[in-house]
Amino acid sequence: MKEILIQLEHCVACKSCVLACAVEHSESKELFSAIFETPPPVARIFVEAGEEFNFPLQCRHCEEAKCVKACISGALWQDKESGLVHHEKDKCIGCLMCVMLCPFGVLTQAREEKVVLKCDRCPDLDIPACVASCPTKAMSLEEVPVHAREKRKEYLTNFKEQWS
């Protein structure tokens, strides 16, 4: 099982990850044509500003994910093997129940399409676009032992522990 690890002190808030994510989730997957697409491509990663640090944040693919339990249409589900939380756009009705419950605030809305959007870990890539694009290596994709639950939790919320 792989997780995206975030190292707060390395982030310089350059937002390369945001751009890379939007491009990877565009029709063309090319920066220059993506800019002109309608609807405009939407990033599923966010650079957050804190009191002392900036840091990038995308879906943590939580164990016992609150968004999945909140989903009233069956659009969100969790793959038991990979642990990834998947979102099926054509089942989503944009009801916002998941947005109301996600403790990380990483589900975003595409208001024209009436759906939410979230990190899908870039299924077409070996390394997710955000991780690959980060110039300071603030993010890395790391193998986490499947059975080490505690360890996994640490990775999920790793930015919290570092903070306090």
Binding site: F46, E48, A49, G50, E51, L57, K66, K69, A70, I72, S73, G74, K91, I93, G94, C95, L96, M97, C98, V99, M100, L101, C102, P103, F104, G105, V106, L107, T108, Q109, R111, K114, F159, K160, W163, S164
Partner: protein, 421 residues
Amino acid sequence: MSYAKYAIIGGGPAAFSAIDTINKFDKQEEIALIGAENHLPYYRPLMPNYLAGWTAREKLYMRPEDFYARSNVRFINGKAIQVNGRHNLLTYEKSENDVKAPAEEELKFEKLLLATGADPVQPNIPGLENPGTYFLRTINDADNIGRRAREAKRAVMLGGGLVSLKTAQALQALGLEVVLIISSNRVFSQMLDWQGGELLAHHLKKEGIKIFFQNEADFIHSNRSGVKKVTLADGQELEAEMVVVGKGVEPAVSFLEGSDVEFAEGIPVNEKLQTNLPHVYAAGDVTLTQDLLFNKPALHPFWPKATDQGAVAGANMAGKELTYSGCMAMNATEIFGLPVIAAGLAWAEKEEDFPGEIYRPLYLDSPPSYTKIVLKDDRLVGYIIIGENRKAGILTNLIMSQQLLSPYRKNRLINGEVVYL
């Protein structure tokens, strides 16, 4: 009489969350699922979308047909009419389609889950029994409303909650003129304060929905083809061919009448979701559970509570101890393109009525936007966000955890900005 180690009465999210959890801990044993609706279980909240034609029927079902055999679930289409908990027995009436079998059957179980959900509240309005009046809770309701809507031109909706608003939107999409009759002074009065209600009502009116506040239906007039006209409390008469009632729900507990399972307005449960009988559990809309903000038992009929409770009940039934700490009022929706989320003591109006601090860092007519933050002792106890809302969940979880806000975080929050720590 048949036997299953686990019996579940229901067929909504509480039941399925319990099934998944039981399967995780005790895969070998059979689960008998008794459901009164003559459909495989489906996503109830999709009913307005289904009615409007935005969600196809085959997208409604909670699980594929082969799920049941795979998961050791025997789905029994019937209505439980009696529970004899001390003797581990329940009686159900088989559904009418099943003419060959005897009308009543008994089931013996070791562990029972009551996940019967809720039924629409039936207001006492003369004429409500006539053809052309509806509730929206089930697929059958949606099909009936859809059929009538094909012929009707005007609909009167009673109630201003989430189900009414979504149904109003669906009926309008089907080409009907829709009038909402709301007894309180605002829409969504369970969740929104006056200002939030104003903003939302303005948006609905702009989309063509008519609203009468502080008014009621006094009489529903019908002729041979059904509803014709509604007389309101203030004497006005509204012509309409259909009436849809959305005045909230109440726990479906009537089948427990005369049983040894205790119930009040809902079924009281402990932290393990046990009823007064330790091997009989309850989960979902049917339960009375601890309200985290008011510290007393309350009904919170909404989806995430049903899935959470189903999982906890299922685990305990299968011998794995888990506890459920409680719940609070919250709701989210998108209506005519406008996102609305509210949680906790969102409706608190004035600081005088409430021992805390209320901030409204954002209030805009166009595009409709509103942020309200309610604090008590430097902890978040409620919020409303109308409009952009990605980080609403952070706020919900701050209320649930009752975490003390750092001065920095509080300061940003009362200025309408959500920061992580």
